[in-house]
Every structure is written in C-alpha cells, then in structure tokens.
C-alpha cells in the first residue's frame, strides 16, 4: 500500500549555513522500523531533486525513533544571503512529510499502519 509520511511521522527542520536539516520522528515508536526501511537516502534525494543543489546525508537515531537528513545547498546560499521565503529551512520538515512510500501490505498490517483495511488495497487516510 502507498502511505504518506505525514501519517507516520512528525518532523522539525532547521539550518546551518546553506544546509537544511530535517529530523523525521516516528509518530509511534514501533513505526521507526518502517521509516528506517523505506525512507532511504536515495528516496529522499529523489524527493528533493531539483529543489536542492547539493548532496543528501542520512543519520539514524533509533534511540529517538528518528532519522536525520542533511540537505546541502538547500537554502539559496543560506541565512542572510538567501532570497527564499524559507531562508532558514524551517518548513523543509513538512516538505519531507509529503513523501509517499510503498509498504508491502503484510508489513503495513504487522505494524498497524494507519489506513490498513484487510483484503482491499485501501489508500492511506
């Protein structure tokens, strides 16, 4: 089933120079494994393709049920140089929550993900 990250996680983002960071936190501790499996470096880089100029880095914090992503070249030069509305990367957090992931139905059922309806491939929400 397809599921949107906004139904699985919350997030906060901030800046350091021209890099935005997005901390992605599972809404329920048991969903961290699902995030860790499906929200990969490649998927996130693909999600933000064309929106950022640099590389993406990914870190795991199983102790906080969280992943941390660094989006380099995301802020049009950063801080005071930036012409962007979101010059400090405050809402890259919810931009990541737009991402759709494809979770096998049996895995979604096992972890009790929202929107799981047995036997019908029901969509999220």
């Amino acid at each position: 089933m397809k599921i949107q990250l906004v139904d699985l996680a919350h997030a906060r983002s901030g800046d350091k120079g021209d890099t935005a960071n997005v901390g992605l936190i599972a809404l329920k501790p048991e969903w961290y494994d699902v995030l860790n499996r499906h929200v990969t470096l490649d998927r996130v880089a693909d999600h933000f393709r064309g929106m950022i100029e640099g590389e993406v880095e990914r870190y795991e914090l199983p102790n906080l049920n969280a992943l941390n992503f660094l989006l380099h070249g995301a802020l049009d030069g950063g801080g005071t140089l930036s012409l962007k509305t979101d010059a400090q990367g405050k809402v890259y957090s919810t931009a990541l929550l737009r991402m759709m992931i494809d979770v096998p139905d049996d895995e979604a059922a096992e972890f009790g993900l929202p929107g799981v309806k047995p036997a019908t491939g029901a969509k999220a929400r």
Binding site: N21, N68, L83, T85, V91, A95
Partner: protein
C-alpha cells in the same frame, strides 16, 4: 535551571515569568544568533557604548527582585560584541534598586578576534572557510566582526569568583546552561558524560519554548494555551540525569514528542555534536515520560573535545531586495507567472546585472516547490521577486520596477500598499576554525 530567551527578539516577559513562576536556581538567557553579532558590531561602530543585546537590560530589571531576594543567578550571552558596556548598562539601570554588593556581575571577554585578525593571519592561522576551503584574504577587507565560540570555562570561573550575573559575548548557546551545572556539581574538564549531558540540556532549552509546545507539529491542535506558554526548566542531578519540565499553571506541553522535535532541530551528525568542551553523542540520549509535563533524559555519553574553536566571521557581501504583488482568481498563478516574465524582460532591457534573481509564487510553490502540486486554481498567489548583487545602484533600480506592474502588467493585481521594496545590505558568514590555545578569555567581576 530555567531558559528564558531563545533569541534576541523573544518574548520580553518570559524571563520574569521564569523566576516568579516557581523555584529556580539559575536563569539562562540566549540572545545571540549569527546575524545578531554583525548588527551589534555596526551599533558599536556608531556608538562605542553599544554593541550588546539591549533587551537584556529590561530583562534584568524585571528579574532583579528574584536575583537580589531569592538568590537566582543569571547567565546570558547578552554581551554581544561589548560585554563590558552591557555590564555597565545593567549596573546603571539597577543601581537605585539594588543594595550595595547585591549584584556581582561577571564579565567574560576574549572571544572577540576582530582586532587580532591580521596578527592571527600573520602568525599562520589561515581562518579558511570551513565549508569551501577558501582563504580569508578573499573577504578580509569586508569583515565586520569575528568571534570565537567559547565554552563553559570562563563562565565557571566567573561563578567561582562570586558572580551572580554572568555576561558573555559569543559563548556557545549550550555553554550557558552547562557551565552552571559544571560549577555546582564540580564536574571536571574531562567528565565527558556529564559535560555532554549539560550540553544536551542546553540544546533542549536554548530555543526557549520550542521544546515546550511552541512550533511543535506533533498533535499541534491539542497543545493547550500557547498564549501563556511555559518556557522550559531543567532539573539536573550531579550524575547528569535531568528532567525537562515547565512551571505549573502555564500553557504549552512538555512531552517526549515536544522534546524530541527540539533535539533534532539544527542537528548535524548526531554522533558528534561538537562543542568547545565536549563532543556529545545524541544517539545515546534516552527519553522517558516522568509524569505530567515532565520528561526524563538519561544515558548521555560524551567524547573528548577537539583542540579547535569555531570562529564566526561576518562580512559585507553586497545588497538584496525583495518585492511582492498579489494576483487574484481566476488564473492567479498564471497571472503572477506572466508578471514575472514581464519583470524579467524589463530588468534585462535596463541592463541590470545581478548575482541571483529568484521568483517564488507564494500560495503555490514558495515553501514546497514542485512537491505542492498543481495550484492553477488557487484563490490568490503572491508574486515574490528577489534580486541580489554587488551593485547597490542596480538593486535600487530594481525596487522601482515593481509598482508600475500594477497599472501596466497582468490584471487582478493588488497588495502593493507597502510601497517600494527596501534595499538591504547583506552581511554574510564565514565559518572557520582556530586553535584553542590562541583564544584567551578573561573574567572580571564588578559590583
């Protein structure tokens, strides 16, 4: 320890609420962002008695009874680029209401490297840009301020000398919280786990209410009474374990999700949160609920500090301006896009050259870009057009090209009452590293 300010411009009354809302030993006030240092430097150039966060004077006046009568100590980086002037201003503002000797102000200096820059370069400290590797010579003549991020030691020294108010310049935000803990508990300079715990406590409360319900996405509708949001408090024990909480009868919320959101804020590599005193490992932090609006934090591990300090150098880097107009339904986005195209053609024809031109369509794509999807039917869209470049004249000329579009561009346009966009001088940042051994701090306690 209570956190009472997350930046210069935060809630003016929060420091008073923090010392009057319940028992606290220390009040920590963080005023400095990178941009703040250069603003303060400009103020000091105009008037040598300025260059500090002036909000701190009002804050001190409001917490003075708690400091004098209840023994609350205050630690703040409000000194900016001029801690002695800040101390003098506090003294002047509180003199009439303070018994002799009741206020002992510890003043920490030595972080300001502006006057030493050339001798440091001559002595072989390259101060190269940490991100790009470029040498400082590239921007040397445009430098406005240069400050090393200093750690807990001078603050501990000031407290040991009897200060009950400590004013620093560019100390790290987290040191303001960790130093009093180090002083009270006698943690050594190599008590890595305890020092790291103090840093994590500092990271949690350095942004004020952002850990106690403010800007919290998790179940945000259910967070009570943000109008009366409680600022954070940490209750720390000598082993480094602590509880994050807030005063009774305040709004907001302290929960595992609210604290977790703050922990990941502005995070880099979580295993290496580098500070002047210690490297904290955020992957070792354990959070657990500890009653209503209480979160217990434990398990934190630290590693030895590096032999470098970060230096933040601010320099002049050209000019920018941003202009906006609002287009209404029908076809709001398409009209805004047409206006953008007209504006770009006119700027080209004028021969104006910029390093950067950025168009955003607020209401359609300004924050989430293409991820926001099709917004052709939006009820209104704001055209937001920005330029940046070294030539003030070109940026100034651009600011005169927005208003004419109201009468000579695409239709259904409004929202221009604010007048011409303002030209802003850009102060940019040059992060660098320097050997710890060359930065000498000093502490003076004045009464």
């Amino acid at each position: 320890m209570a956190g009472g300010q997350g930046f210069w411009g935060d809630d003016l009354d929060a420091p008073r609420r923090q010392v009057e809302g319940g028992p606290v030993d220390y009040l920590m006030l963080d005023y400095l962002a990178e941009v703040t240092m250069s603003i303060l430097q400009k103020q000091k150039e105009r008037d040598p008695s300025l260059g500090y966060a002036r909000d701190f004077v009002g804050a001190m006046e409001s917490v003075l009874p708690a400091v004098v009568e209840k023994g609350v100590k205050v630690v703040a980086n409000a000194g900016g680029v001029n801690p002695p002037a800040c101390a003098a201003a506090i003294k002047a503002a509180t003199a009439k209401r303070t018994p002799r000797g009741a206020l002992r102000i510890g003043v920490v200096t030595g972080d300001d490297l502006l006057g030493r820059l050339d001798s440091l370069l001559d002595a072989g400290h390259p101060l190269a840009n940490m991100d790009t590797g470029e040498p400082l010579s590239k921007i040397r003549s445009d430098v406005l301020s240069a400050n090393a991020y200093i750690g807990s030691e001078p603050i501990v020294e000031a407290l040991a000398k009897g200060a009950n108010v400590v004013i620093t310049g560019r100390s790290t935000d987290t040191a303001l919280t960790m130093a009093p803990l180090r002083y009270e508990f006698g943690w050594s300079a190599t008590s890595w786990d305890q020092l790291a715990a103090g840093i994590v406590a500092g990271h949690i409360i350095e942004c004020g209410a952002q850990c106690s319900g403010g800007n919290c996405l998790y179940d945000w509708r259910s967070i009570p009474d943000l109008a009366n949001v409680g600022y954070p408090i940490v209750e720390v024990t000598a082993d480094g374990e602590f509880v994050v909480t807030k005063h009774a009868d305040t709004g907001g919320r302290v929960s595992v999700p609210t604290v977790t959101e703050q922990l990941v804020y502005e995070m880099g590599d979580p295993r290496s949160y580098i500070t002047p005193d210690v490297i904290a490992d955020f992957t070792t932090i354990r959070l657990a609920p500890d009653g209503e609006n209480r979160v217990r934090v434990s398990g934190i591990k630290g590693k030895p500090a590096t032999d470098k300090l970060k230096v933040s150098i601010a320099y002049r880097s050209g000019f920018k301006a941003v202009g906006t107009l609002v287009y209404a339904w029908p076809d709001a986005l398409e009209k805004a896009q047409a206006a953008d195209s007209v504006l770009r053609t006119r700027l080209d024809r004028l021969g104006l050259k910029f390093d950067r031109v950025l168009t955003e369509f607020v209401g359609a794509n300004a924050t989430h870009g293409r991820l926001a999807g099709d917004q052709r039917d939006a009820p209104e869209v704001q055209l937001r057009f920005g330029v940046r470049g070294p030539d003030r004249g070109a940026v100034e000329r651009f600011t005169r090209e927005i208003a004419p579009l109201v009468l000579n561009g695409p239709p259904s346009v409004t929202g221009f009452a604010g007048g011409r966009p303002k030209v802003e001088e850009i102060v940019a940042y040059w992060p660098a590293l320097i050997d710890k051994s060359v930065v000498k701090t000093s502490v003076e306690v004045i009464e």
